[in-house]
């Protein structure tokens, strides 16, 4: 018989974890239960985090935005703070799974699954998110690229959990953009995805930019060279095409049943071209999802 524990406080959680360090942690279970059904993981004890109110919180903290690890995708999507400051994350969350998956799945789970296709990850990379980690002994925080080590690999010690993510409000950017290429419009694992934060002047000059690609490498791919190349240039199809060629050389996709590496490479570059349809960034900021304007 498998035991499922649902601690009500962090203190209870630490004592459970101390008693059984092999226990499996879950939040929404939308990744873990799939793996259990396929016999990829097993444990005699499971610890659910859903009752820990402290982990579900979404709030402002010293001017930053802090999202609790157990905040569900649906809660994040609907939160006014997120809508106001993090459209890039909202756009990504809208493409994640389906309403039931978004209602159960959490951002902490998405981060800890560390799938190259995790949809919250490219936005969190461009937002330079910090992952907050705690254990019975204390807490620490690390930038997300340092936390995710590879596909399905995270740097979390035994007895530690992720308690939340923290991002600075990206006030210096006026264009948020996320696009996912899946095999259909919902319930689809990304074949490629791109998150972008740009500051564009009214005349179209790119003053700052951060870009991140998902599903086209072992972890989210970023490249300072490409960002530097674009900075100071005009947001035009020519500039973007030149950058897109660099993207196709930078990404490291694989072939799998969903798509070939070639397709992923081409599309990673092409996704950048989409920005050229967005001359008026302030409108883009208000726009909620790339599909709504279609």
């Amino acid at each position: 018989m498998r035991q499922v524990r649902l601690p009500q406080t962090l203190a209870d959680l630490w004592s459970l974890l101390n008693k059984d360090p092999t226990a499996l942690i879950f939040s929404g279970g939308t990744d873990l239960f799939v793996k259990m059904r396929a016999d990829k993981v097993a444990a005699s004890t499971m610890i659910g985090l859903e009752r820990l109110a402290a982990l579900r919180d979404i709030r402002e903290d010293n001017g930053d935005i802090r999202i609790g690890a157990c905040a569900t995708h649906e809660n994040i999507l609907r939160h006014p703070l997120i809508a106001a400051h993090l459209p890039v994350l909202v756009q990504a969350l809208r493409t994640l799974g389906s309403p039931p998956i978004r209602t159960m799945g959490t951002i902490g789970g998405n981060i800890c699954t560390a799938s190259p296709a995790g949809d919250t990850l490219p936005p969190l990379y461009v937002l330079r998110a910090e992952v907050e980690i705690a254990s019975s002994k204390g807490s620490r925080s690390v930038p997300i690229p340092d936390f995710i080590a590879g596909p399905g690999q995270i740097r979390l010690a035994a007895g530690e959990i992720v308690t939340g993510v923290r991002v600075k409000k990206p006030a210096e950017f006026n264009l948020h953009h996320f696009e996912k290429v899946g095999q259909r419009k919902s319930m689809s694992c990304a074949v490629a995805g791109m998150a972008a934060l740009l500051r564009v002047t009214p005349s179209g000059a790119i003053e700052a930019c951060r870009l991140a690609w998902g599903s086209v490498g072992p972890t989210v791919m970023t490249d300072a060279g490409i960002e530097n190349f674009l900075t100071g240039k005009i947001l035009s199809p020519d500039t973007l095409s030149a950058a897109a060629r660099q993207v196709t050389r930078m990404v490291m996709p694989i072939d799998d049943v969903r798509a070939t590496a070639d397709y992923r490479r081409t599309v990673s570059g092409n996704l950048l071209l989409r920005l050229s349809g967005m001359e008026n960034p302030t409108i883009e900021l208000k726009r909620q999802s790339p599909s709504e304007g279609m």
Binding site: S98, V181, Q183, R184, K185, S186, M187, S188, C189, V257, R258, A259, T260, Y263, T266, V267, N270, L271, L273, R274, S276, G277, G293, M294
Partner: protein, 768 residues
Amino acid sequence: MDIQIPEIGKSFARPDAAAKVTGAEKYAVDYYGDHLLWAGVRRAEVAHGRIRNLDTSAAARLPGVMAVLTGRDVPGANRQGIVHKDQPVLATDKVRYSGDAVALVLAENRETLKQAIDLIEVDIETLPGVFTVDEALKPDAPVLHEEHPGGNVLLKAEIKAGKGESALKDCHILIEETFDVPMQAHAFLETENGIAWQEADGRVVLIASTQAPFRDKWEISHALGLGMDRMRVISPYLGGAFGGKDGATVQCFLVLAALHAGGRPVKMWWNREENFAAGYKRHAAHMRYRLGANSDGTLQALHCRLYYNTGAYAHLGGEVMALGMEHAGGPYRIPHTLIEGWCVYTNNPIAGAMRGFGVAQVSFAIEQMMDLLAAKLNINPLALRKKNALRRGDQNTSGVTMTQSTGIGDCLAALAENPLWLKRNDWKQAAGPFKKRGVGVSAVFNAMGYGRGLPDSAIAKIELTEGGRIRVYNGVTDMGQGNATAFVQIAGQILCQENTRIELVQPDTDRTLPSGSSSAGRTTYTYGNALIKASESLRRKIIGRAALMLLADTLDHLELLPGRVRDLQSGREIPLEMIGSMMAAEDRICISQFLMPVVRDKLDTGKGFIIGFPHLIFSYAAHLACIEVDELTGAVEVKNYAAATEAGRVLNPQTFTQQVQGAIAQGIGYALYEEIKMEQGRLLTPDFTTYHIPGAMDVPEISSQIVETWEPSGPYGMKGVGEVGSNGPLPAIANALADACGIRLTCSPLKQERVLEALSQSRREGGS
């Protein structure tokens, strides 16, 4: 539930709707039982091989295992199959695809079952396999069925009309192209399952999710050597089927298991992975077309070579191909045809019946040929279709005279007036950045019924119960299409009774009568015709018996009204409850059989077909797809969709429209996403994570226009509408893609990666 007297031609809520939405309706999968045992099979996991040794001892020793059975324990022929009996229940010597079952386990619970299955050791000497049609047809190819005289060719057949292919040389214009479509999964919600137990008298009762309970009895009886009177098969409402439950899935396993379960109920329930690995699929096909026409667009000649990859066992492969061949030339007049077909065994999962049975494949080919011809002649594609559309009195591409309702011309005319068609140029112009828009059409048809050589019969039974209610004994499974709803309407209309007084019994070989499979668009047509006759007899009977109680010396003034019979002259009435309680049990029942008419033309072709050729009655549809292509990703989005459908008269506009919409949604999946991928017979798409069906966001609003004709042989003039809609989306979308960006994909699905590749190729070649 609204109380009403059901009427023909009016939307009428399904009698099963409330029970289904509240979860009260019991599907086969909802049946358990006391002291339940679970059954499961060990599958070969090898695509082609010879069984050297099968060791079940460790599994049999596992506590909680009731029995482990192998082919040696199968008492009968150990062969299943509808037309060709070539599939073992449990393989004894050879395995021909990775899903072949080699041992059957009965266990106390599912965990033990799984462990026991894993403990079975099967030693298989791997043989080289054949997976594509090309591989299977090589002269020195490994042979799947050594005893089959045709080698790997299950069936080779041809249909010839007029001067055949020789007429192609006289045509002004010749179009040639080759097309490929992949295997498609049915993806029904309720996976294959059932429950069976042996009664005290030794009889076995089987409740299964099946489209053909009566034929199951014959198949089980043959395979297991059990008398047909020794079993009872019950088929509740199905949670979807689409052809995938037309034939043996769990049936033989469960009855065999029940014979070893000491009277305990045994349940077998395939999970999704098993459904993918061992369930039936739509055939992949390779199709070579040559179409000749006059310079004014009049079709003259067609030559096709069609290759259907049927997988490891015959199942309905030959019949699926036959129907494909019969539809290969589309709903058009083409005087000279030669249509050749090869149905080929391979070491893949078994291909069989699926909505649009063989026809969905050829529709992709002929409807793109029509657009290629229209482009060459610079004729509007709708006008080209209209010009060549079959009319009543014409001969179709098999040389069969169209004596029945033939409404494809009306469907095309309706589409030509649809705003989506009329305003297509404006709509296309409005595409946003990196988007290209296109509008495509297709004209499709689908035969109804089994065709010549296999009686398409149903036997309706209807009862006035002792309590004065009307009970319809439905003998043909309702897998969601709503035939049972139509039966309540027919009984209500004829007997003038409220829906709340009418009961339905779902197929049960002990209570209902053989009415054929739930397939071929035939359920409402064939059973409905039988039910009209039975209901009319019952009406006369009720009035006749009421006369005795009303002391009426003539029946002329008696009328059957809701809940009563009234003497219109005297005003006296007698309730049905009294009439029912007065009548003897055998007197309260009316039974009637209907046999579908068949083609009367004497044809000198199609001799290769054992059964099921040719067909007399067809339903028709013209489809229009408005799509948007993303030039950056290649993704195709269906923005608008319209269908004009002709299936005779409409008994129930609501269920009619549901059939049209459901078929189109499934057809969009076939067009854009769905593809069973395999490597050496091993599935690369073993589940819904990798095999994508469309979701709600991928299916646009569908405008469904009903085009009515009158089918004189049909119940109230109707024909079947379940399948025809499946055939239109793939070609309409492919034609829209060509319209949008000048690329013509001859290989489906039209997935984004293929589209993007074709776009860049056309750019390299200096296209748009």
